[in-house]
């Protein structure tokens, strides 16, 4: 098992120092190795588990139930302007 720690960190948007990456590599490998023991189980003829609870999805009627709560919701945002969230420029 060889994990590209830097790439995984980039995909998760986590900044790691080289020292941290070196330290985390073996730890992540042990975790994945532990889970991989499951691969040894013979699952032939067993239906894949889609969800730990054996239940079907409850559905919701198509009725508007939320009202405008913008002011309250935007108190959590670092920056807003004219009702819009302001974020660092995203380059297209």
């Amino acid at each position: 098992m060889d994990i590209d720690v830097k790439n995984v960190a980039m995909l998760a948007r986590i900044r790691l120092t080289d020292a941290e990456a070196t330290e985390l590599g073996p730890q992540l490998e042990r975790i994945v190795g532990y889970v991989e023991q499951l691969a040894a189980v013979n699952t032939e003829g067993v239906t894949a588990t889609a969800h730990p609870h054996d239940m079907a999805m409850p559905l919701r009627a198509d009725v508007v139930s939320n009202t405008n709560q913008r002011d309250a919701l935007q108190t959590a945002a670092p920056k807003t302007e004219s009702g819009l969230y302001v974020v660092p420029k995203v380059i297209e």
Binding site: A56, L73, K89, E92
Partner: protein, 476 residues
């Protein structure tokens, strides 16, 4: 040696539900930014999604309309990527087992048809909107669209030209609007297309493909595909190689550029959505949705040809949208004697005038009953077809009924033989030479007399009666 273009399309269709896919926020277009959001569609921690039943039903209906398999158990997965318009850091989508699989659409190609395979339709949620223009160092985000239900309709790589791709898209666009599963307004982003394009020598395996993004009108899609195919052909002929990449089409410049930066970031690490158990639908529910299926464009076209004796062209024009087809059938119900006359007047005269005025059938100043009233007056000989066109103009302008216009303008057709005979005698007296020549065998002059009589009545004489009476009186 020639090249063959291979095209597969992914179409994102916004489902026209009242609320979002996983929460009770409104989907109404054009609201003030961020006024239609809640903790669920903002991706706040601890919030749980609950799927919209209507979105499921509309996706199933679409699946049935393309003769696809409906998976009675399907699942949701998380597609992970970071972008500020996606607050959760993942999009809920269906990756492993979509709701709809293995369908097809028959598209018109030349005089015939071609079957285009549809690999799958899966349900997912839309992202918000980011705005960059005129901003320094920042972007603005509106999350009203975040969580709006989408169907992603993925075709097989079955198209071989930009024209085939457009024919497929138009057919699909017409279908989703007929089914009323989406408003399909491309300007509002309710019908968006990504195209996978590659080229190969005929008979050889598929070439490496490029994915074109940001295609939001039929015209741009055609341009973008043609540009991309040529780019790849030139590249290969110059000894180069096509690399698999995402390209963004710039409609203003008419060319595409690589988005390699985005490629690197695109490792979606799909995994099952733990917040949603499997979606189960019963065969009975599917059967009930099938039973409620409206007539599809192809069936309607065929029925119009058979039931009303319309030409293929008229049947096609009158089934472009469900509104047009309904309007036509209302017209026929009000003027049942001559469905072909109904089709001619609606397709050529009414739609032509509406087109010129930039109006839609929905806001036509003349409704089906009113147009039927006009056709009745042609039928019973009150006015000629020629005069009827002027009457229609007046009806369009004033909104008055045909009878009111005919009455007000004194356009009633003269069918009374006594009056017409008197006119014919006047014309004959004024043109003795021509009468002489006609009687000596110059048959062609008959048209001249018809013209003179019609002119004398400003076109209001019944042409059939004029013809009949002229023949008799000129013999005397």
């Amino acid at each position: 040696m020639s090249w063959e273009v291979v095209i597969g399309l992914e179409v994102h269709v916004q489902v026209n539900t009242k609320t979002k896919a996983f929460c009770g926020c409104s989907t109404a277009f054009g609201a003030e930014p961020n006024t239609q959001t809640c903790p669920v569609c903002l991706g706040m921690p601890g919030q749980l999604p609950v799927l919209n039943a209507e979105a499921v039903q509309k996706t199933i209906l679409t699946g049935l309309a393309i003769n696809a398999t409906i998976n009675l158990e399907s699942r949701f997965d998380r597609k992970n990527y970071f972008y500020p318009d996606l607050p959760k850091g993942y999009q809920i989508s269906q990756f492993a087992v979509p709701l709809v699989e293995k369908g097809y659409l028959d598209i018109p190609v030349g005089d015939g048809e071609k079957r285009i395979g549809i690999t799958r339709i899966h349900m997912e949620e839309d992202a918000g909107k980011s705005m960059h223009e005129g901003l320094e160092g920042v972007s603005h985000i509106d999350l009203n669209r975040s969580g709006v239900p989408l169907m992603e309709i993925v075709s097989e790589p079955d198209m071989r030209s930009a024209d085939e791709a457009i024919a497929y898209l138009k057919q699909l666009h017409q279908l989703i609007r007929f089914l009323d599963v989406s408003d399909g307004d491309m300007e509002k982003g309710q019908f968006r297309c990504d195209a996978n394009v590659s080229v190969r020598r005929p008979g050889e395996p598929f070439g490496t493909r490029a994915e074109l993004k940001n295609l939001n009108s039929f015209r741009f899609i055609k341009q973008a595909i043609e540009y991309e195919a040529n780019r790849q052909i030139e590249l290969i002929e110059d000894g180069g190689e096509v690399v698999q990449e995402t390209r963004l089409f710039d409609s203003a410049k008419g060319e595409s550029r690589s988005m390699r930066s985005k490629e690197e970031a695109h490792d979606y690490r799909y995994f099952p959505e733990p917040d949603l158990p499997p979606l189960r639908v019963s065969a009975e529910e599917v059967a009930a949705i099938r039973a409620g299926m409206p007539e599809l464009p192809g069936q309607l076209r065929q029925r119009f040809e058979q039931e009303y004796g319309l030409s293929a062209y008229d049947a096609d024009v009158l089934t472009q949208t469900r509104e047009l087809a309904t309007w036509y059938e209302q017209l026929v119900a009000a003027h049942p004697k001559d469905p072909k006359r109904c089709a001619n007047w609606m397709a050529n005269e009414l739609l032509g005038r509406l087109n010129e005025a930039g109006r839609d059938i929905a806001d036509s100043p003349v409704n089906a009953q009113a147009l039927a009233g006009l056709l009745d007056r042609i039928e019973d000989g009150t006015i000629s077809g020629k005069i009827a066109k002027d009457v229609l103009d007046a009806m369009m302008a004033s909104g008055d009924s045909a009878d009111a216009v005919i009455e007000a303008k004194g356009l009633k057709q003269v069918s009374d033989t006594g009056a017409i005979d008197a006119l014919i005698r006047e014309v004959m007296a004024a043109n003795p030479q021509q009468v002489e020549q006609y009687r000596n065998g110059r048959d062609k002059l008959f048209g001249f007399f018809v013209g003179q009589v019609m002119k004398a009545t400003r076109g209001q004489a019944n042409p059939a009666v004029v013809n009949q009476r002229l023949k008799i009186l000129l013999q005397d």
